[in-house]
């Protein structure tokens, strides 16, 4: 199992996560084995406390499992040092958060180019890619604005641009439509679907939104820290 095939973007093997809540151990995940292929548009659903958050945290390297292993783009996350993991997230994972989480003191352009700055991409190339990405997400002409000067939908578009601009292996989206009205949510979802088809980038959503569930190619339901159902459409 040390070597995964190129098309297998994420492979988890026996992922278990135990938290100590007030000294009492709580099993958030109970041995999850899952493989996600490149280019999939996957939604992870389940009731609150089912382990969606914990699972996404672990596959993104933001948290470590109590037991089990995670392979992301062929690398074992638990074997990486802090810096290696930071660089790996920078190069391979794009994050879209429910509350957008843009840096308010940076302009739209600076927010989007931040990850490329970390990666040492030259200035001219950064600028070119930022402008192109903002155009792709329908935000032409807002590069010099700050996030507070944008609507919620626009901010989430910036967040999508930030997540995608460095062409990561996967995009992890936490309830990306939860703070948006249904029309804006639908527009964004359509845009992400389009980008998925166009770029072949892998999207993994954590969601309660029926609209997201409907558009997902694969629907994984978690219950009590276990995979309850795994449907492909």
């Amino acid at each position: 199992m040390e070597q995964v095939q190129k098309t297998e973007v994420i492979v988890t093997e026996g992922i278990t996560k135990v938290y100590a809540a007030d000294g009492i151990p709580v099993n958030a995940l109970n041995g999850i084995d899952l493989t996600i292929q490149s280019g999939e548009f996957t939604a992870i659903v389940g009731p609150s406390g089912s382990g969606k958050t914990t699972f996404l945290n672990i596959i993104s390297g933001l948290d470590s499992p109590t037991e089990g292993k995670v392979w992301l783009a062929g690398k074992v996350l638990s074997e990486m040092s802090g810096n290696e993991l930071s660089d790996f997230r920078r190069d391979n994972i794009g994050f879209i958060f429910q509350a957008y989480n843009l840096i308010p003191v940076l302009t739209v352009e600076e927010n989007v180019e931040y990850i490329m700055l970390l990666a040492g991409v030259p200035k001219a190339e950064r600028h070119e890619r930022v402008i192109a990405m903002l155009e792709t997400v329908g935000l032409k002409g807002v590069a010099d604005r700050t996030p507070t000067q944008l609507s919620g939908g626009q901010q989430q578009r910036v967040a999508i641009a930030r997540a995608m601009v460095s062409e990561p292996t996967i995009i992890l989206a936490d309830e990306p439509t939860a703070n948006l009205d249904s029309k804006t949510g639908a527009d964004l979802l359509e845009m992400m679907h389009h980008l998925n088809l166009e770029t072949g980038m892998t999207f993994i959503f954590s969601t309660h939104d029926p609209m997201v569930m409907e558009s997902a190619q694969r629907l994984i339901t978690l219950r009590d820290g276990r995979i309850d159902t795994d449907e492909r459409k």
Binding site: S86, N101, I103, P104, V105, E110, L118, A119, G120
Partner: protein, 409 residues
Amino acid sequence: MWLILIKLAWRNIFRNKRRTLIAATAIGIGLAALIFVDALMIGMSENMVRTATGSFLGDAQIHRAGFRDAQEVALTIQALDDVTEGLATEAIVEHFTQRVLAPSMITSPANVSAIALVGVNPQTEQFLSQIDDVITEGVYFEGDSSRDIVIGAKLAEILEIGLGDRVVVTVAQAESGDLSQEMFRISGIYHFAGEEMNSGMAFVRIEKAREMLAIGNAAHEIAIKFTSLAYSQDSTLPFWKTFSQHGNEALSWIELMSQLNAILEMTKVSKYIMGVILFGVVVFGIINTLFMSLYERMFEFGVLRAVGTRPFGMARVILFEAGALAIVSIGLGAILGFVLTAIFAHVGIDYTGIEMTGVTIQEFIRPVMTVEQFVIYPVWLFIFTIIAGLYPARYAAKMVPVDAMRRSF
């Protein structure tokens, strides 16, 4: 990469303008206080040294070795002609004057008092002491009467005498120890702020003093004024060795008034202690401010970590914020320190009449600004701020992204 982190830090500290302003003002007040105290201490030291050296002492003195301890009138300066010739050609010497000193008794019809009789050359003495400047009654050795004597106001009060009255001065002669008495007429009365000079000294012409002591053309003391006071603080100058030959000793005011020097050294130490205390308070203020800012933006820091910022990158953001806070604080502190010091340098602080280690302050103390105060202390403050920022920076670097974001997914 550095640029975006610096940009991030600079803009972050202005996110909560009120808090930044309060923190920067508090730190700035610390810096301003340090600048002011330093300027005040320099002003006070210069004032005291100027008073001590300018009143009577001189920047340096030459005596026969042992004279200062024994006060024995037979211990006159050796090879006096060579010494005076040497001083006359010494480039760093601006003025010098010979003195004759003798413990004596002064008697009036009403009272008697023990004094130090000082024989002076009025022409050269005026450059070394301020007696001629503080004459309140009569004159300072005008005319050519060898029986003129100038005394302090307090001594005049003790002896119950006034201008023109007669007194008798008794000394023991150098070789024989025989008593020698001379009658003098009060030609001048001076008033110094210092008690010792007011009540314990009397001045006569040097020729008369030599005659009374039967020491020929000898002298007990040569007071020297350098072209710059700084020479008196330079113990490496060949001057000290050159004029410490033939059994004589050349000493600067630092050695002559070792107590004053010790007090001045102590004020330097106390300034450093105060600096450490002030900067200590500042350090805790900075740590508090940075942590408040950090906790407020915990989620944001979690996001920065999540998207790939390395732990050291996070630490740099905090350190840059600390640096940005320091720069704002230094700007405020330097302006405040400058204004405060400039005001008091103009107005002055009235400590006149207060005596410390035998030196009575005679002028208003005016704080003295130096370039160092606006360079060294700000640099210290910047370094302290960065050091203070290390703790929150370490915290930010060790932050687990998922803990920072809490509800990340």
